[in-house]
Amino acid sequence: MEKREDGAQAMQILMFGWEFPPTISGGLGTACFGMTKALADRGHRVTFVVPSLPGSDGPSHVALLAASDFSAGTEKAPSAGITVSPVDSPLRPYMAEADYGVFRKGSLLESPGHYGPNLLDEVQRYGEAAGLIARRVPFDVIHAHEWLSVPAALHARRESGRPFVFHVHALEFDRSGGNVNPGIFAIERQGLLEADRVIAVSHFTKGMIVERYGIDAEKVTVVHNAVSRGEAATAYGVVKAQGERIVLFMGRITHQKGPGFFVEAAAKVLSVLPGVTFVMAGSGDLMPKMVERVAELGMGSRFFFTGFLSGGEVERMYAASDLYVMPSVSEPFGIAPLEAMLYDVPVIISRQSGVVEVLHHALTVDFWDVDELAGKICAALTYDALTREMVERSREELNAMTWDRAAREIEEVYKKVTGLGPFDGTNRTNRTNEPIERT
């Protein structure tokens, strides 16, 4: 423990994260970056452990931070309190096993949305490797994001005896649409059962954790994600034909995100407002099906697919849009609507998402109700007062939605599991910076 400048106690946090999936989903990376930065700004020290990308040269954390950079806005460099520990060398011995590297590469990079069983092996191995990190660095608490980090966190706890906080951003139920991978489910459940405390990104997700995984509601704390406003939000002069209006879907084109409902709604909208342009940005396994359906509906001239977009393109896409639609079937949080709002784009979000808990000035629909969705898209494009009110009120709301607020709530959780709080310097314990166990 250290004293912070303001006299409060600082904690050392060992955080296990995962790199961006190489698609546009990006929510997890963005969230981890915003969170760690806010924790560091509050005086805590974060050691952020990520498995390094196979085949990439040099420190992958640079790539990670650079990647979160664009999503988080203007943050150009990691804060002083964050150390990124890529776990690559410990993994090497295992990689020597036959075919493992190939499997790993395939599973992680080529089809991240569709994890195969070889990934499970890899996660276990990564976990063991991460245990070694726990011996090297001092920490007071373990904070692990997502099921992928669970074995690592459990190893670290075994090594150190420090409490383990499991942060759930999405569940296998959200991702799979009911077609649950039992291996992943088992790891998730183990994490939820063994964690000293669980953090869920929404009450929506907390409800699932309690109902589907049988976890005591008392054990789960909800900490909503935040979003940081970047300068870039206003920097894009977008060239658009006069009167052209763009309705945007941005995200993985997978079952979870409900792209089919967007396509069907588009057809309905075009039947009454023929001049509207629809854009589906992102990639995913349902993309070919969507392209086919658009062609079948004969609206190819008004409906466009951009494929996967990267940093600057994402921002430009938001800035060019008049309306953002997220018809997700099951969305634990959904940070993208907040990002759209940073560009003053009004949003329609599905009621089956966690973000509705914090976003009050948005239109909401049940994802399956294509008529309602289409009707609201028409209304948003027709009644200017509607979007004006939503955008103005959302600006106020977004200003209050800071990572600092989330970091405070996370601090409270740390306090509970470590017994170290309150962080006011009055409750010092005999813990030291020295790692306790060395073997």
């Binding site: 309905k268 007062a385 004006r388 103005e392």
Partner: protein, 396 residues
């Protein structure tokens, strides 16, 4: 001799249908009759009937010393006539005692005073005629929608022959004594009574005790009774739904409606008056000049003040912008629809205040959100505007 002027206000709008953008040009079904009937049934049972029974009991018990005024909107009277005879009858019986006054207001509980004098006058005249027909009295007291007040409202009320006007917003008028009666600027006969916000709210929001006889209520009423000795007028204006609905006790009536008159009337110097009675007995304490319209205190909290948010302003502008065209149709049906769309409730449901804390979601909002309320209203107006332009079935 302190007087209590108790005014109870009853109004229910016709609920709007969930009217989709795709209904425009296809459906003229704007109002949800079934839903409106169900709400009316519920409120009648929880509030109108028990409160009226209680009032009748008080009038009989105190042999005329208990007096009260009941503001019942025209829109509600119309709904009562179509299927709530018992409620209508209970109002009639109150009227027959001679101790109950029925003030008039805009029939449709509209914001017409802010947008169209012609329409405002028309709706008041309608309501006045109806009260005369139903209750056999010519209203001399005027109560504007939401107690909105201003010099213009007073001028119109006086020119229409009203003698008293009930108003809100005393807290916004520095130097205005709510416990006295005032003369509106440039009026000769009209007198204005301002709602006593503190006492009205205190009473309305008091948690109801068991069996209507909570000691706390008696204590509160005793303190009230001890506090006044002169010629004060205490204007207690509240909604019928204050009694029944939320916060009710087993009898459905908060203790104070049953206990307050008893405690006060036991003291010889207190009395209950109708607005007209109070106006006849008191001279104005001074003139009150209110150039622009004012809303009662707390109206921001319930989501209606003017100018409102973008949604409210746009919807109102669209609605009242149709006035000339609606009149030009000379169609009873179109004018009726247009007027039913004017109920202030529809605008209140568009309030985006305090959404995060859930406070903006007034219990009576039939829509999931203010944005939905606005969308459905605008869809209806778009269809309606197309219809009065004679383009039935064609998208405007």
């Amino acid at each position: 001799m302190p007087s209590v002027v108790l005014n109870l206000h009853a109004h229910l709008p016709l609920r709007l249908k969930k009217y989709s953008f795709f209904d425009i040009g296809h459906s003229q079904d704007y109002f949800d009759g079934q839903e409106s009937r169900q709400v009316l049934e519920r409120v009648a049972k929880d509030s109108y009937l028990p409160v009226n029974a209680c009032l009748l009991k008080l009038i009989r018990r105190y042999r005329g010393r208990f007096r009260v005024s009941c503001s019942v909107s025209g829109m509600l009277l119309e709904q009562l006539e179509k299927g709530q005879d018992a409620v209508l009858e209970s109002f009639r019986r109150l009227a027959d005692t001679g101790c109950v006054e029925f003030p008039a207001g805009p029939w449709h509980h509209s914001l017409a005073s802010l947008f169209s004098e012609e329409e405002f006058r028309g709706q008041i005249a309608l309501h006045r005629r109806k009260i005369r027909a139903l209750f056999g009295q010519v209203p001399r007291t005027f109560r504007n929608t939401e107690l909105i007040y201003g010099n213009d409202v007073a001028r119109i009320a006086e020119s229409m022959g009203f003698r008293v006007i009930l108003a809100g917003g005393e807290g916004r008028l520095p130097g205005c004594d709510a416990e006295a009666l005032h003369r509106p600027a440039r009026c000769r006969k009209l007198k204005v009574l301002f709602r006593h916000d503190r006492l009205s709210d205190d009473l309305a929001l008091r948690p109801a005790g068991a069996a209507g006889q909570a000691p706390a209520d008696d204590e509160f009423v005793r303190r009230l009774a001890d506090g006044y000795h002169g010629d004060e007028i205490i204007n207690l204006f509240m909604d019928y739904e204050t009694f029944g609905g939320h916060g009710q006790n087993e009898t459905g009536i908060p203790g104070f409606l049953e206990t307050l008159p008893g405690v006060l009337l036991k003291r010889r110097n207190w009395r209950f008056s109708t607005p007209s009675g109070a106006a006849a007995e008191h001279e104005p304490a001074g003139e009150i000049d209110v150039p622009g319209p004012i809303f009662p205190a707390g109206s921001e909290k319930v989501g209606l003040t003017w100018p409102g948010n973008h949604l409210q302003v746009d919807a109102a502008r669209t609605l009242y912008g149709l006035e000339d065209r609606v009149r030009a149709t000379k169609s009873r049906k179109h004018i009726g629809v247009w007027r039913n769309l004017q109920a202030s409730d529809h605008f209140r449901h568009m309030s985006t205040e305090n959404l995060a804390s859930g406070a903006g979601q007034v219990a009576s909002n039939p829509f999931a959100s203010p944005y939905d309320a606005y969308i459905h209203t605008m869809n209806i107006l778009k269809d309606f505007s197309g219809r009065i332009a004679g383009k039935t079935g064609v998208r405007p």
